[in-house]
Subunit: 310 residues, 2 copies
């Protein structure tokens, strides 16, 4: 008997991870979006409802990340039925935690579960990219890729590559309570760049990758700093320098902006260190007049999954 309706959860994620702008991201445990996909007779994709922490999102399937992703997937795979989706937002808008991406990721995993033989999750990637495009206007997979696969992932224009995560590696993410529009964060990156900036940034990316593959935390510590994007975006985040400093003082391997911000992430060798550091990072935001939420999660957090079927 066919599945009539499936519900999937997709986690929040840390995009960019400092050194992998538009290219690398990792999943976060706990926070996420939940999407229910239901078969319908009409050969189309529509959004029935948006609930949760964000409700003012477009219902128009062209402008809704989840509907656009599912439309792309349905067309590309000649799916013979229509799909209605209901979105339950757990991730705040403009937080730098991959919220728009998570709706697309969860919707795809839910829709895919309606098939008699669901497709491998990595094949959903191009459709998730297409969905992200509805929100950001560009194709970058550093949020959808780790949301689909879990863990730390390289997300290129046409493929996803899971990166091994050293045991115990733990992320702290502090989300201050103000909205930084992705568009504004992108505008801060306008203009031109010097080749030397790129060499320095590539160094960081290469060291972090080498450290992850070799299980060498000191290489990660040497590499996990963003000299290209962070200096241009940090002024948009009140208290950023103090929050980053609090993380480093508490032993972080590195700290930078999560996605387009304003959330700040830091990586730690173990969870105990991470929890203590998270409180210090929240205090630093409080000193800048900002309340915040705290997430402590393994970097190797699980990806999207089906949570209910009927």
């Amino acid at each position: 008997m066919s599945v009539r309706s499936a519900t999937a959860f997709a986690p929040a994620s840390v995009g960019n991870v400092g050194v992998g702008f538009d290219l690398m991201g990792h999943a976060l445990a706990g926070l996420g979006d939940t999407v229910r996909a239901t078969r319908i007779e009409e050969p189309l994709v529509r959004v029935r409802a948006i609930r949760g922490v964000v409700t003012e999102l477009p219902l128009d399937p062209e402008r809704n990340t989840a509907a656009r992703a599912v439309t792309s997937w349905r067309t590309r795979n000649s799916v013979p039925f229509g799909i209605e989706i209901e979105i339950d937002k757990g991730i705040p808008l403009g937080s730098g935690l991959g919220g728009s991406a998570a709706s697309a990721s969860a919707a795809l995993v839910a829709a895919n579960a309606l098939l008699d033989r669901p497709l491998p999750v990595a094949t959903l990637y191009p459709d998730a990219l297409e969905g992200e495009c509805a929100a950001s206007g560009s194709l970058h997979g550093d949020n959808v890729a780790p949301q689909l696969l879990g863990g730390l992932v390289l997300a290129t224009h046409d493929r996803v590559v899971p990166v091994p995560v050293p045991e115990g590696l733990t992320a702290v993410v502090v989300h201050p309570h103000f909205v930084l529009e992705t568009r504004r964060a992108r505008e801060a990156l306008a203009g031109s760049y010097a080749l030397g900036e790129f060499v320095a940034q590539s160094e960081g990316l290469a060291l972090v990758l080498a450290g992850c593959y070799a299980g060498d935390l000191e290489l990660i510590r040497a590499g996990l700093r963003d000299v290209l994007v962070e200096p241009r975006r940090a002024p948009l985040i009140p208290g950023f320098a103090a929050v980053k400093q609090a993380a480093l003082a508490a032993g972080a391997l590195g700290a930078s902006i999560s996605g387009a911000g304003p959330s700040v992430f830091a990586w730690f060798a173990d969870a105990g260190q991470a929890r203590a550091a998270g409180l210090a990072m929240q205090s630093a935001f409080a000193a800048a007049g900002l309340d915040s939420d705290l997430i402590v999660s393994p970097v190797a957090a699980p990806g999207a999954r089906v949570v209910a079927c009927e």
Copy 2:
């Protein structure tokens, strides 16, 4: 009894490797520079002679890469004797094969062998960088690092990280007989860059590193293309597009400019494929009116070593 005189060989190298501008390089088997270091009474470093395929190099210790490297090393380690060096150049000048770097690397390994307890080779890196600076005016270790350590190496501003090389991986380097001054090749890179170029180039670097660590040649094939530097330098190399195309048509995982050029390198899954491709690449240079030399070498080629002591 102390060593009075030591002779060391340092291999040529492929700098940049397409995706790792100023950051990644690998050694080449066969071609290289040989340097003899001899203890002298005077507390200084001097160049006694330069022989071989290049002789018009500066003898002035400040402007000679080998002497400047050894001076840096001698000072930093408080070496209690002076050193006289004789350089036998095997690597042509302005070839893009790391010639100036190889003199510095060989000189350091030879001088180091004069110590009663020679230092670990990786500790010679900052001095080799200092030597390179005499030739290029900037500190970049993508040639000296693989020359010292052998194989494929990430060379950051302050450390060297060997990268595992998949079994059988073979480089072809074709060196056309004309000189491209490093300065001219650097000038081609002047101006500003768009962020999107960096993202595309980072993708390539990340895929090549992931492919090397995971032993996955298809990831290397997906990543080994230079969208940042090659388009700006290729016009300086007659026949470049045809030579690159010949390599790709013969099954190369990727092909680009070696160092600052004009040599062209390509990577292959095995040595048999590489040899056939090398001849096709030479034919393409010949069609552009250029004679050339051919090197076929494992990417995991050995680094600098002492070849004689007395």
